[in-house]
């Protein structure tokens, strides 16, 4: 126990401020207030791998490391699409995952957002469209925002999530 505690103390607090979606830095409190205004509660995210190479998964997992600490900002990952406001989809949609992706999306309550993560989620990436791949996520379900990158950095994924839930920032 002593070892565990002393290791915690040595490590200290590493969490960095959230990245600004545009130039203005969103203070944590502002963000949480906005989340409450838009959703009435914390933002719940469900992730679906629709056929990725697992690179994007590694960066999504990084969102909960102490440097990004996404949960500390009131954004958490949930186990069921029925609890989710936002669907993070990685990978080109493989034909073998097409049905599972549609069902996951249909299981979500409204209002719902979809963020396609990575070059593959955007357009199929190096896998494109083929007998085995339907290409980008938007070919299968409606997509609100796309985060490019192979894989995109955790900071880029957070920015994408923030932009999605603040429609004004998307500039549409």
């Amino acid at each position: 126990m002593w070892n565990t505690l002393s290791h915690m103390l040595q490590t200290g607090l590493l969490t960095e401020p959230l990245p600004a979606p545009q130039q203005t830095a969103p203070a944590l409190k502002t963000l949480q207030k906005e989340l409450l205004q838009i959703l009435g509660r914390a933002l719940c995210i469900r992730h679906v791998d629709a056929g990725s190479c697992n690179g994007c998964e590694l960066e999504i997992q990084a969102l909960n490391n102490p440097y990004y600490n996404l949960e500390g900002a009131g954004i958490k990952f949930v186990a069921s699409p029925r609890h989710a406001d936002l669907l993070l989809v990685t990978g080109p949609v493989s034909v073998n995952m097409e049905e599972a992706l549609k069902r996951t999306y249909n299981a979500m309550p409204d209002p719902r957002f979809v963020v396609a993560v990575g070059d593959c989620g955007a357009c199929g990436g190096v896998f494109g469209t083929s007998y085995a791949s339907r290409g980008g996520v938007a070919n299968i379900i409606p997509v609100n925002y796309i985060v490019m990158g192979c894989p995109p950095s955790p900071a880029a994924i957070i920015s994408g999530i923030l932009r999605t839930i603040r429609p004004a920032d998307i500039g549409a």
Partner: protein, 515 residues
């Protein structure tokens, strides 16, 4: 009549470690498998090719690791109307799923009893074999329902739990069918193939100079291993000698990849056993390593770092210093975390005895890589079949005998320390020559092999060149193929809630096996 195929003088194949090719007939195809099994050769992979345009038939290949050599056994199947070959799963059970995948993609069948599809889930017509040369791979088809009969289990109080393909976390998709009595798992059957992206077909439209980009994305967490294996095959085919600096930088990148994955796994294993502190600490260490990667290699994940002829990004003296400082900070942290893990009664209670894979079972089923080393099997390409620069370094072989989750945790700790030692050696006096040399176009119709011990185990690329700088056939093999079926055994008698922990201790690639 017993033939010792290991004594055969087969011609050499271009490869980064000694590889030979043995051309056999139908009967010998079966006999080679039998003979290799008897002499404890390890089975690496199996793949097929459509050569009807060239000589009127199909080919089936199997690769084995025999002492000092990789043996690629090749069998030409003349009957192009209903091509078949004798299955070898009786000798090497790991071959079964590979044979089913070959049947799905090429329509070459075996005499095995299990004829269910593996990669095809109804996403393309049953009569269509996408890897055949007369099939246009870019065509799309509507998904049709294709029922998959799981092996039924009956009995008093027996029930099924179906999990997946979408899991309750940020992980890849796959389906697990548990048959349980109370809490205990009586049987587990896996169904994979959900992330099949048609990689093999895509290679045929890629140029030799570009294939490494696709190879790196076969399994993103092993990008360096796959792209290096691809480049090693291409460089062997073209007799390209990489600059010494590039070779060292590739090995450094490979060890960084091993470190990143092992750190991530150790954190996740702690978390799956209810010790969130472990996840916090190890994910911090991993993040610090990934940030150093940006400075040293130009990216957090090295998807396009290893390129034909060398590497894409040179390391500055500052980056070298940064990495050495990183290692100096990481090593005591990892050692401290190890003693915390070792002394934590609750954690050890979950780790020990969970998901035990006995050495005899591991041997019989053909375990490979990290999982094999945790079940007492001494195998590591960096040690047994070293290629440059590992031939000069004598990496230490890490072996644990427990075969349980605890042993797979210990292997990761040991390998982190060994990788840190190797990384420091790479950085002690890095050669000062170029980081890349040009790679000429390879002659058409030649087969070359690249083999690299990735963090999971041996990653193999078999590359056959096509005309004018193209690729005729490229087979990418992930060690997860061998190790996935082992989880079906490791889980037996364990309770369902321990499955995530056991599965994590293997941490196999779905994408790598689905292709």
């Amino acid at each position: 009549m017993a033939t010792n195929f290991m004594e055969f003088q087969a011609p050499r194949l271009p490869a980064n470690i000694p590889t030979r090719r043995l051309r056999v007939d139908r009967v010998q195809w079966f006999q080679t498998a039998e003979s290799f099994r008897k002499s404890n050769a390890r089975f690496l992979t199996l793949w097929g090719a459509d050569d009807r345009d060239r000589d009127g038939g199909f080919r089936i290949y199997a690769a084995y690791l025999i002492p000092n050599t990789v043996m690629v056994v090749e069998h030409f199947i003349e009957d192009s109307a209903s091509p078949s070959y004798p299955g070898i799963a009786g000798f090497y059970p790991a071959a079964l799923r590979m044979q089913r995948a070959v049947a799905d993609l090429l329509g070459i069948s075996t005499d095995e009893a299990d004829t269910r599809g593996w990669l095809r889930h109804g996403g393309w017509p049953e009569s269509l074999f996408p890897l055949r040369r007369d099939v246009d791979g870019s065509q799309q088809y509507p998904v049709e329902s294709a029922p998959y009969p799981f092996v039924p289990v009956e009995g008093d109080g027996v029930h099924e739990i179906a999990v997946g393909p979408v899991h309750a976390g940020t992980i890849e998709p796959g389906h697990f069918r548990f048959t349980v009595v109370g809490e205990k798992v009586l049987r587990l059957e896996e169904r994979l193939g959900y992330t099949h992206k048609g990689v093999a077909k895509l290679f045929e439209n890629s140029s030799q100079q570009n294939g490494h980009r696709l190879a790196a994305r076969v399994s993103g967490d092993s990008a360096v291993a796959f792209s290096w294996a691809y480049c090693a095959a291409l460089e062997s085919l073209t007799q390209t000698v990489c600059p010494a600096r590039a070779i060292i930088l590739r090995a450094l990148a490979l060890e960084q990849e091993r470190l990143a994955n092992h750190l991530g796994d150790l954190g996740a294993l702690g978390n799956d056993a209810g010790f969130a502190f472990g996840l916090t600490q190890f994910s911090r260490l991993k993040e610090e390593l990934l940030r150093a990667n940006i400075v040293a290699f130009g990216a957090r994940y090295l998807m396009d770092y290893v390129v034909p002829g060398g590497v894409a990004f040179d390391m500055t003296p500052d980056a070298r210093r940064l990495l050495l400082d990183l290692y100096d900070a990481m090593e005591p942290s990892v050692s401290q975390m190890r003693s915390i893990y070792d002394e934590h009664a609750g954690l050890q209670d979950r780790f020990r005895e969970a998901g035990r894979l006995e050495q005899a079972t591991a041997e019989k089923l053909g375990a490979i890589g990290l999982v094999a080393r945790a079940s007492g099997i001494a195998c590591d390409l960096r040690v047994d079949h070293p290629w440059a620069p590992y031939d000069l370094l004598a990496p230490k072989l890490v072996v644990q005998t427990g075969g349980d989750v605890a042993a797979r945790v210990q292997v990761r700790f040991d390998e982190i320390l060994e990788s840190l030692r190797l990384c420091r050696l790479f950085l002690s006096e890095p050669p000062k020559d170029a980081i890349r040399t040009s790679v000429p176009v390879a002659t058409s119709g030649v087969l070359g092999v690249g083999l690299v011990e990735g963090w999971r185990g041996p990653v193999m690329i078999a590359l056959e060149t096509g005309p004018s700088g193209g690729i005729r056939r490229c087979h990418a093999h992930d060690p997860s193929w061998q190790n996935w079926p082992l989880i079906e055994y490791a889980i037996l008698g364990n309770i369902v809630p321990d499955f995530p922990l056991i599965n994590k201790s293997f941490n196999l690639s779905y994408s790598g096996q689905d292709g």
